[in-house]
Amino acid sequence: MKRVEAIIRDEKLCGAKEALKALGVAGMTVTEVKGHGAQKGITEVYRGRQYSVDLLPKIKIEAIVDDNDVKKVTDAICEVSRTGSIGDGKIFISGVEDCIRIRTGEAGAKAI
């Protein structure tokens, strides 16, 4: 079981969500985050003072998937989320030891 954690642009959420659904990955958890990377921030202006925002709004999608789904999931996310300019985001993959479905108490792969 792996955790696929993708940090993508705000506006790519819909696309990524649909792509995952298309792959049959129904379960996902989405968080509003702020990110900082190679991408330059933006500057806001308030009464002549400049407010440099270097943490930009991003979306984090977490999906816990079977080990052999990882590749197709990351590929799908990459495809829909890529614009080619800086700020497209990253995907991190890490291990998950177990999963429990609260409703039924089932554990392991069938609970994903």
Partner: protein, 443 residues
Amino acid sequence: MRKFSYISILMMVFMVVASQTGWADDAALDTGDNSWILTSSALVLLMTPGLAFFYGGMSSVKNINNMIMMVFLCMAIISVQWVFWGYTLSFGPDCGSFVGGLGMLGLHGITPDSLSGTLSEYTFVAFQATFAIITVGLILGAVEGRMRFNACMLFIPLWATVCYDPVCHWVWGGGWAGNMGILDFAGGTVVHINSAAAALALCLMLGKRKTANIRPPANVPMIALGAGLLWFGWFGFNAGSELAADGRAAFAWVITNTAAATAAFTWVVVEWMHRGKPTLLGLASGAVAGLVAITPAAGFVGPLGSVQIGIMSGVGCYFAAVKMKEAIGYDDALDVVGVHGVGGTIGAFATGLYCTKFVMGPDGVDGLFIGWSAEGANQLGLQCVGFLATWAYTFVVTIIVCLIVKYTTGLRTTEAQEDAGLDLSLHAEAGYHLETEPVGTLK
């Protein structure tokens, strides 16, 4: 001394009547009337911020400042345009029944003592300025999230000059429409149809938003705030349009309130039946639809007429906003055409159906449904002439204005700006910073 006392008594009666009605002395300012219209002017001015919140609350959160700012910009620009040339184009000495002359450029010749009826002429200038301002503001609901801000700065004074001022002159300034006897008590044609025709032209010229940029309303309570301020200010709009603090003004107050309430209720019921849920946005939209529709009729129809106009506008505007827009396929973001165009047209038409001598006095007209007479049918025809002419004139002229703007500043923002939201891309200013930790550095 019989004769003497006889004359004395006559005189006394005359005096009292004269001093109360101003009849003997037409040229005097009535402080009561002036007070009411000064108040009304302030009320109508407040409608523009009200409109900004009504529209702003409906916008996507990334365009909320831009929407509010465009509407506020109308106050900033038209207030000055009005003083310099707007007032004289609207109410200056008539030129060919079409527009006012330039005799009062910069309010030339109007002194603090000048009168307009029982009002100070400056009161009239103020009151009418607020109408010009909000009419332009109304248009901008159609353009959410995709109009350049400098285009807006050019469009506003241009449109006011070539559309608002002439149409205002036609109806109220001594132009052909008023002379023909077309009835428009407080601006169904001048304000609502006028702005809706422009909104239609403008949103066709701008094109549609990307689906991804069409978002649910950012802030529904803010919509309610806008609707509340609009309802409040509309008493100045309609009851103020009597230009006196008399019984007919009070009548218009009640009629306005009744129609707004009826339409609000109707919209909620229709929405409930059609979509299964009544919404606050629906209630607010219905109230505005009713206020729009009663605007041309407020001083002409009776309470029952106003209830019927309320129902017609509640149903009509609901389906115009929900169905017609989709069917025809223009992207009028916040339904200026659906609410103000359809509502204004319903009101202008229904004025010909329900206007009554009961309110207008013996010189008035009984509408078709009141008198079932030729007089009524004739009035209905006149009403149609009025609104058709306005729709046509304003639609065409606005297209031309848009073309001028397009080739001067450009009309539409870039796709990147639209995706990022106009607040950040055009104004470098986010609507809200409600998080407690700072995400940036202030310099």
